[in-house]
Amino acid sequence: MTTRREFLKTGVAGALLLNVAGCTRPAQGDGRTVVLTALIPVFLDGALPPAGATRPELITRTVAGVDKAIAGLSLATQKEVGELFDLLSFTPTRMIVAGVWSTWPEASPEAIGKFLESWRNSRFDLLKSGYAALRDLVFSAWYARPDTWTAIGYPGPPKVE
């Protein structure tokens, strides 16, 4: 059940804060990188190798993959994705709309997982679609790379001469 309070929180306040977040647009690339660097290990838990030398490098490469994917989206969609990352970067909206109270680098995997689940199961299409956009971006950036294919038993495309 959606309570009245929840609706106000996400509906009205969310929209207002989204505007504020948009107006005080954080340094775009940086804000996005910080958010993605926190989200990627949670989305890719089980796919990303456990802590070790290659892990930070793989996260960086996945962030770069997401950046590249965003740059290929239609301009209208790029704008929407920009708003999504603004909302997640801006402290008040991060707290209220995403429910993540610490900064992204300090947020625990459990807190981030809770955020993903709350958006995935939200009553609001806007948040559900925000979750779906993040999921699509992260999974495409990861599984587009040949170095992720051995783990899933995909041999890659055949040779055509």
Partner: protein
């Protein structure tokens, strides 16, 4: 490997890459065709064959077989609308549509069905399209089947399709082999990323080259921005050149004048072009009733390798569930199997973290079925509506209602039962609330209780139809059954946006056949010569 398109370019075909233009241009032709997919390609071949001077405008890039490296990371941004992430307004349906020379025919999975008789009968009776009988259309389909080498796939199906056969046959559900438009096919399985061996008889390999060899001009990376009208005539098309990234306008404009304009940009872009141009729409029918065959996905795991990435992607189907009720009754669905590639599967599967990773680790043993829901016949299945964003780009609003979800539930049940019958050890509807089932009994109960709603249950589409519908009178549609616009004298629509309902089958051959008919009629009208004997 030869690249016949590049050979043609080297031999002097007229191709203008609009991203390379440094000054505004003005060109003139008998006919300007907007779009180079199934409709634009067939039109270009037939009109150029009648001696008409043709310009083909394509918003996407020209990419040819040497560019097709079978990599999702390259193919999706290069060859698809919106980087293969076009969505409906509420993001509940993901739409795959081509955007490159050849349009969706460059990236489709080659399934080639004639318009089903039930659909043509419905168009004749409910939409007044009396001329479009099965008998009248048969020669056009036959001609295009011959032209594009359509034939029943002769090799055994890959394991992904074989599972559909095995499961369905066990349950007494009839299945049949899919006709494909391929010649000397290597059976690789990468049709969706552009055919690297020039086996697929797409527009890129067939009709466009013929038109170019007859002197037609192809302009790629040119966005058809607006038509200019004078009275009841279209007089020019304003094109915006795009930069090489295919996204940003470069600032260069190309103005195209012609006696006749043919819209073939697909069922979202064609109505949107008319809307941006503020074309007359006295009855408010433009961009309405857009259909998608909204498609459900059921994923299964087998103990043995399936390798759904290898081999002809779609080779068998079942129409059993299209025949359970009247065409306008509870929505029926066609069953097919899709190819699975890492990005396609990863972004389709629900869940995240270890639950998602666990499924991906079984990629090679994964099998999937699709249920393509036939929309547009039932009174509560009115499809979607094309609107324009502030920047003029099109957006499809397609609400999914209870009539659809009732069919979605039946489809998920049908697919799970077939997958278990085929030997699956685990099946899940692609749905955020589903956790998967290990027996049919469990699935039956679980699916019955799943909450079906937008963005909970994954819905995808690769077939966009309608929005400039054919009708018997201007009150009911945008164009006549010949594709001629009811109010604009020299404007025709030759693409999937013509269809007054969905097709109930993969639509490429429906577009080829109908457009072959209408382009022949148009060729005769414009050239003053008898209608070309097709082929």
């Amino acid at each position: 490997m030869r690249d016949p398109f590049r050979e043609g370019l080297a031999a002097g075909w007229n191709h203008i890459d609009a991203s390379a233009l440094v000054a505004d241009q003005a060109l003139e032709a008998d006919v300007v065709i907007v779009g180079s997919g199934a409709g634009g390609g067939v039109t270009a071949e037939l009109l150029s064959g009648a001696g008409l001077k043709v310009i083909i405008v394509e918003e996407g890039p020209l990419r040819t077989s040497s560019d097709f490296r079978m990599l999702e990371s390259e193919a999706y941004p290069m060859l698809f609308q919106e980087s293969a992430s076009r969505h409906t307004a509420d993001k509940a349906i993901k739409i795959l549509q081509g955007r490159c020379v050849g349009g969706s025919t460059t990236v489709n999975w080659t399934s080639s069905f004639r318009t089903p008789p039930a659909t043509l009968h419905w168009w004749q009776t409910a939409h007044g399209l009396k001329n479009l009988s099965v008998e009248a259309m048969a020669p056009w389909f036959a001609a295009m089947e011959q032209r594009l080498h359509v034939g029943l796939w002769p090799l055994p199906p890959n394991e992904n399709n074989a599972a559909l056969v095995r499961g369905a046959e066990k349950l007494g559900i009839p299945v049949a082999v899919i006709p494909r438009n391929v010649k000397m096919c290597w059976n690789l399985g990468y049709c969706g990323m552009g055919c690297p061996t020039n086996a697929k008889q797409s527009m890129l390999l067939t009709t466009i080259p013929v038109a170019l060899s007859r002197g037609a001009t192809l302009i790629s990376l040119l966005r058809a921005e607006k038509l200019e009208f004078s009275g009841s005539k279209a007089i020019a098309l304003d094109g915006l050149a795009l930069k090489a990234d295919g996204l940003h306008p470069s600032g260069i404009r190309v103005k195209l004048r012609a006696r006749q304009f043919v819209l073939a940009g697909g069922a979202i872009n064609s109505p949107a072009l008319l809307m941006r141009s503020k074309a007359v729409d006295p009855h408010g029918v433009l961009g309405k009733r857009t259909f998608l065959h909204p498609t459900l996905v059921s994923a299964a795991l087998f103990d043995t390798p399936i390798r759904a990435y290898a081999g002809a992607p779609q080779s068998v189907y079942s129409d059993h569930f299209l025949k359970q009720a009247a065409v306008d009754g509870p929505l029926g669905f066609k069953l097919e199997a899709p190819p699975l590639h890492p990005v396609l599967l990863a972004t389709t599967l629900h869940g995240w973290g270890e639950a998602h990773a666990r499924l991906m680790r079984e990629f090679a043993n994964s099998q999937a079925l699709l249920a393509l829901v036939r929309d547009g016949f039932h009174p509560e299945s009115q499809g979607g509506r094309v609107t324009l964003r502030d920047d003029g780009s099109p957006l499809l609003d397609y609400p999914l209602n209870e009539t659809f979800w009732e069919a979605a539930r039946r489809a998920m049940l049908a697919m799970a039962e077939i997958q278990f019958a085929a030997g699956a050890r685990w099946v899940t509807p692609v749905h955020e609330s589903a956790t998967g089932y290990t027996t049919w009994g469990e699935a039956k109960q679980g699916i019955a209780n799943l909450p079906f709603a937008p963005l909970r249950c994954r819905v995808v589409s690769a077939h966009v139809m309608g929005g400039c519908a054919m009708a018997d009178a201007p009150e009911r549609g945008v164009v006549s059954d010949e594709g001629r616009h009811f109010q604009i004298d020299n404007l025709s629509v030759h693409d999937g946006s013509l269809f007054p309902t969905s097709i109930g089958a993969n639509p490429q051959l429906s577009i080829y056949g109908l457009v072959a008919r209408n382009a022949s009629l148009l060729a005769a009208a414009l050239s003053g010569r008898p209608r070309p004997a097709i082929l």
